[in-house]
């Protein structure tokens, strides 16, 4: 490595060369700042975009010259994710410190005001905490229902029998359906006048039965629909664990005359424990986001508002953009914690097995 090539690879900040990404960043920041201050938003967006493209080009040339293929391969993906996900998230982080409504022109800095408002102010905090408690309730009910049903289904399918493949498809299909497609039809099944559920219960008890008329019924309706859709997910994971247990362990246990209850805890359970935890966390993250089913089935009535749906209402229907941004960050924080835990367990399982 000669002195010439080392200066070629690490240019000074001011040197105008194709691969000087530091200079490109400096230029991009200045140009973006000027355009955002001076030009209308629609124009300045594209100016900022061009500046970002400049930085990206400088990075690409730099990476190519250094045979730094990792960065080169990853760059387009990171760029798309940055524009469509990371940048909007940073924008909403910024907005959460302002008082701003999408249908008004005024914008005012309020610091942590929005966070204080959604967590402690009477009305706003009441709604937030109510939605959070409802969400926690849905998480507990739907996830435990899915774990139990999924586990039982997995035990049913954990043998090899004729037509297994085709019967498995029937059980797996609900998971692959669109929430809208099945959610819409659950409103039909639950309908008090012509719904099939009401018909069955009416003909047994003789009284008019309306499932969605109180909170218990509304929650039960949503939990049932969600559990129906996602139990197959738990089943798939548990089934993967059950299939991976080596047969000779059972044969050895049979020779030692160990009871089947103890066989389960000593042999089977260790093989499915990791997968059960993964299923639990994955479903918790998903149940935490529950919104579509609530929108379709109750529209938040009977105190079934979840935090995700609450956020949709605040931000999209009531146009309280910055308050919504603050709630977003509350949720973001929780999802990051859960995702971190999930990945930790997934990696430990891969390495340990």
């Amino acid at each position: 490595m000669t002195a010439v090539s080392s200066t070629l690879l690490t240019p000074r900040l001011t040197a105008v060369v194709a691969h000087n990404w530091k200079l490109a960043i400096a230029v991009a920041v200045v140009v973006s700042a000027i355009s955002m201050a001076g030009l209308p938003a629609a124009v300045s967006f594209w100016v900022v975009g061009a500046a970002a493209a400049l930085v990206a080009a400088a990075f690409t040339v730099n990476a190519y010259r250094r045979h730094y293929f990792g960065a080169l391969l990853v760059a387009p993906a990171i760029a798309v994710l940055f524009v469509m996900n990371i940048f909007p998230l940073l924008w909403s982080l910024g907005l959460s410190f302002f008082a701003y409504q999408a249908n008004q022109q005024t914008i005012r800095f309020v610091g942590l005001g929005n966070y204080v408002r959604i967590l402690t102010n009477d009305l706003a905090a009441h709604a937030t905490w109510g939605a959070l408690i409802n969400t926690a309730m849905f998480v507990v009910f739907t996830v435990s229902a899915q774990m139990i049903v999924g586990f039982l289904l997995a035990i049913l399918f954990a043998k090899q029998f004729p037509l297994r493949k085709y019967l498995l498809i029937l059980v797996l299909t609900p998971m692959m359906l669109s929430v809208v497609a099945s959610g819409v039809f659950f409103t039909y099944y639950y309908d008090p006048t012509f719904g099939i559920l009401s018909y069955v219960i009416n003909s047994i008890s003789g009284n008019q039965f309306i499932l969605m008329s109180n909170k218990v019924g509304a929650v039960a309706g949503i939990v049932f629909a969600d559990a129906w859709m996602w139990s197959p997910f738990v089943m798939l994971l548990v089934l993967a664990g059950l299939v991976s247990v080596p047969k000779y362990l059972y044969e050895a246990a049979a020779i030692d005359r160990i009871s089947s209850w103890r066989q389960f805890w000593m042999i089977t359970f260790p093989y499915i424990r990791g997968l059960l935890m993964l299923a639990l966390l994955f479903r918790t993250i998903e149940a935490f986001k529950l919104a579509d089913l609530v929108i379709l089935l109750t529209k938040g009535g009977n105190d079934t508002l979840t935090i995700s749906y609450h956020l949709i209402r605040i931000a999209n229907e009531q146009n309280k953009t910055s308050e919504g941004a603050a709630i977003s960050y509350l949720m973001l924080f929780m999802v990051i914690v859960l995702t971190n835990l999930y990945l930790y367990l997934a990696n430990r399982r891969t390495k340990g097995a």
Partner: protein, 312 residues
């Protein structure tokens, strides 16, 4: 003998578990049938004559199964609902009009396939990069990418709506395809990385020692080995995008509306006002691709629904 014939038709895939006979098949069939009933009911409703959907007691079956099911539970199957998905008369005795659903189906197919293809190209390159040339802080990048996928859609949507409004992308194909590309990208990267991680490094190392460039190794050695993975990722992405509701609801315009959004609008009148047989016909058409995919991807389903984090 019977075993080996069944095995030939792919019945004996899952090994390491005990064999069971037709008794188990019967028991599981009953459970699976009950589990599948809600879907079956949608499909049956699509074949009912228009007035039948609101009957009490509800009609349940297209045949009486040789007199097994009482006559008042039997309906006469018809195909007219499928026709009226695309054109029907809007007024009591008007001429049939186009409903625009052909457009919505086209939108769903076009938006899903464009964004998934784009994500597949970009994402496979990135997955190869993450798998073979780890960056400083590789795991952090991967974590952030997965987090964007785990986030509640609405958290990302609020600023995206603002951004699209400013730039003028709201309601356009470009906007929603870009957004879905990002949405599929996270999934594609994790999925494809799990396939690349599984390849044995021996052949690759040999090729490298013989002087093949990194790109040559990627195209000639790695890519041919993950064709099945590419197909699975593609079809999974297609279904995820096909089913997506919230992004489409908040970001598609009248011209770019997808089927789930149109379906939701068809039902929003609710109760007796909704034409349930028509809605069921729309849904049945909408479900066909999902059934086919579930069937053909059975072996990759576990990996697909966990974004590649659980392989076996």
């Amino acid at each position: 003998m019977a075993e080996s014939i069944l095995g030939k038709f792919g019945f004996g895939r899952a090994s390491g578990v005990d064999k069971a006979g037709w008794g188990r098949t019967l028991a599981v069939a009953v459970v699976a049938f009950i589990y599948f009933l809600p879907v079956l009911f949608i499909i049956f409703t699509a074949f009912k004559p228009q007035g039948d959907a609101l009957l009490v007691p509800p009609t349940l079956s297209p045949t009486s199964l040789f007199g097994l099911i009482p006559d008042h539970f039997v309906f006469k199957p018809t195909l007219e609902n499928f026709g009226s998905v695309f054109s029907r008369s809007m007024t009591p005795d008007g001429a049939p009009e186009a409903t625009g659903f052909d457009r919505y189906f086209f939108n769903s197919i076009f938006i899903a396939s464009a964004s998934v293809l784009l994500a597949l190209v970009i994402g496979t390159l990135a997955a190869f990069g993450f798998s073979r040339y780890p960056l400083k802080g590789n795991d952090t990048y991967l974590f952030i990418i997965l987090t964007t996928r785990m986030l509640p859609a609405i958290v990302v949507i609020i600023p995206v709506i603002l951004m699209f409004r400013v730039v003028g992308l709201s309601g356009s194909y470009l906007g929603i395809i870009m957004l879905y590309t990002a949405f599929n990208l996270a999934f594609t990267i994790w999925m494809m990385k799990s396939f690349f991680d599984e390849l044995s490094p021996d052949v690759e190392d040999a090729a490298r020692i013989d002087g093949s460039s990194g790109m040559r190794v990627f195209f000639k050695i790695c890519l041919p080995q993950v064709i099945a993975g590419l197909a699975a990722t593609f079809v999974f992405g297609l279904i995820l995008t096909w089913n997506e509701f919230l992004f489409a609801l908040l970001l598609s315009g009248p011209d770019t509306r997808t089927v789930p959004v149109a379906m939701n609008q068809a039902v929003s009148s609710g109760g007796r006002g909704t034409d349930w047989t028509l809605l069921a016909a729309i849904e049945t058409l909408f479900l066909v691709p999902v059934f086919l995919v579930t069937f053909f991807l059975q072996n990759h389903l576990l990996r697909g629904v966990t974004f590649g984090t659980v392989k076996r």
